[in-house]
């Protein structure tokens, strides 16, 4: 037949470039991601928002996580997690001061406190945290939130 000649061509897909493609993916992930520093021990279903802004300085952030504990042994009430440990509301100020003390002097006033809050949390706790932050003059805060998807 006419087609017989064609069937003699090589059937295999060249896979020599496959490692390169995978390496490319690997480098992409290495660059665009950060290591998990702390294990988050509270529920984190964060409400989405639309008007997000990126922080200009990523290194001078103090992370606070708020939500109900994942392990039910710690109860169901929302707790505050900072640096891998649960802290009491009146320790928030002290903790921020500690973080601030670890920063170079010129950057201390630029510290941003990032709040990652579960959507089930009530505003009372959030306002209490804000009041604590105001006491230690940590006035820059950011409510971290994923981008709202277009309808």
């Amino acid at each position: 037949m006419k087609f017989a000649a064609k069937s003699q061509t090589q059937q295999e897909i060249p896979t020599a470039a496959l490692p390169d493609i995978i390496f490319m993916l690997l480098f992409f992930f290495m660059v665009s991601t950060i290591m998990r520093e702390t294990e988050v021990k509270v529920e984190q279903k964060i409400p989405r928002a639309e008007q997000l802004v990126k922080l200009q300085r990523k290194d001078i952030i103090a992370h606070i996580y708020v939500g109900a504990p994942i392990k039910s042994t710690f109860g169901k009430e929302p707790v505050i997690q900072a640096d891998g440990a649960f802290i009491d509301i009146n320790k928030v100020g002290v903790w921020v001061e500690e973080v601030r003390a670890g920063l170079p002097e010129a950057e201390r006033d630029q510290l941003t406190v990032s709040l990652k809050v579960d959507k089930e949390v009530q505003m009372g706790l959030i306002v209490d945290i804000q009041t604590e932050l105001r006491k230690v003059n940590a006035r820059k805060i950011i409510y971290q939130s994923p981008q709202k998807k277009e309808d």
């Binding site: 896979t15 020599a16 496959l18 490692p19 995978i22 390496f23 993916l25 690997l26 992930f29 290495m30 665009s32 991601t33 950060i34 290591m35 998990r36 409400p47 928002a49 639309e50 008007q51 997000l52 802004v53 990126k54 922080l55 200009q56 990523k58 952030i61 941003t112 990032s114 809050v117 579960d118 959507k119 089930e120 949390v121 009530q122 505003m123 009372g124 959030i126 306002v127 804000q130 009041t131 932050l133 105001r134 006491k135 003059n137 940590a138 006035r139 820059k140 805060i141 950011i142 409510y143 971290q144 939130s145 994923p146 981008q147 709202k148």
Partner: protein, 222 residues
């Protein structure tokens, strides 16, 4: 024996290279998270003093009040509101009202600007919108004195608070963007580390402070 070895190919077998790379890739996928330093920024007011003279001095028309009760129901300017997304246009109109813009220069040192000057710096399309449909004596005097106050009950949810804050930011970003000829999204994405974009950002914000106040919530029994 030795001869038979030579018959094989001389190349190093690279077939498993992809597997090794995959293994590394999966390792990184599991141990890392995508850098998400994105969110809604807020500048808290300075440390609270015993009494707050600033709050009292403000006239009622210069405060845009948003209240939330424990059932997540909204009271905006003393009127109940069901749709959160309406806040955006209301705040936009409130801030740009220019009811009686003052000549007094306010703002950061060296960058003081009066409300009249702010008005004059707006593009023609915004000016015509303001003179056509705004300028009410019931609403704010000018952007420098306008304050948006959010008062959420202790029992209201964080979710509704974020959606309100989102709308407020949307309104301000719309104003800032329009002022320099950008959409609100383009304005949000301005990179402040780039001097040219930073200048645009500062130009847009000059004279229109983002005054969002999170009031102390009502405690039960008070």
């Amino acid at each position: 024996m030795a001869k038979s070895k030579n018959r094989g190919s001389e190349e190093v077998n690279a077939g498993s290279m992809a597997d090794i790379a995959f293994l590394l890739l999966i390792f990184f996928l599991v141990t890392t998270q995508i850098a998400t330093n994105k969110g809604l920024t807020l500048l808290l007011p300075p440390k609270q003093e015993e009494d707050e003279p600033i709050e009292i001095k403000q006239q009622q028309r210069n405060i845009f009040k948003i209240q939330v009760n424990s059932l997540d129901r909204l009271l905006v300017e003393d009127e109940p509101l069901d749709d959160v997304s309406q806040i955006r246009d209301m705040v936009y109109d409130f801030v740009l009202n220019f009811g009686s813009p003052s000549q007094v220069k306010k703002g950061k040192k060296g960058k003081e600007v009066s409300e009249v000057e702010t008005y004059n710096s707006l593009p023609a399309s915004m000016k015509s919108y303001i003179s056509r449909s705004l300028g009410s004596s019931e609403s704010s005097d000018g952007p420098a004195s306008a304050i948006v106050s959010v008062k959420a009950d202790r029992g209201s949810s964080y979710e509704i608070f974020i959606s309100i804050l989102d709308e407020l930011n949307a309104a301000y970003n719309k104003i800032y963007g329009e002022r320099v000829g950008l959409t609100d999204e383009e304005f949000r994405k301005l990179n402040r580390n780039d001097p040219r974009e930073k200048a645009l950002y500062d130009e847009a914000r000059l004279g229109i402070p983002k005054a969002i106040s999170i009031a102390e919530p009502t405690k039960s029994g008070e």
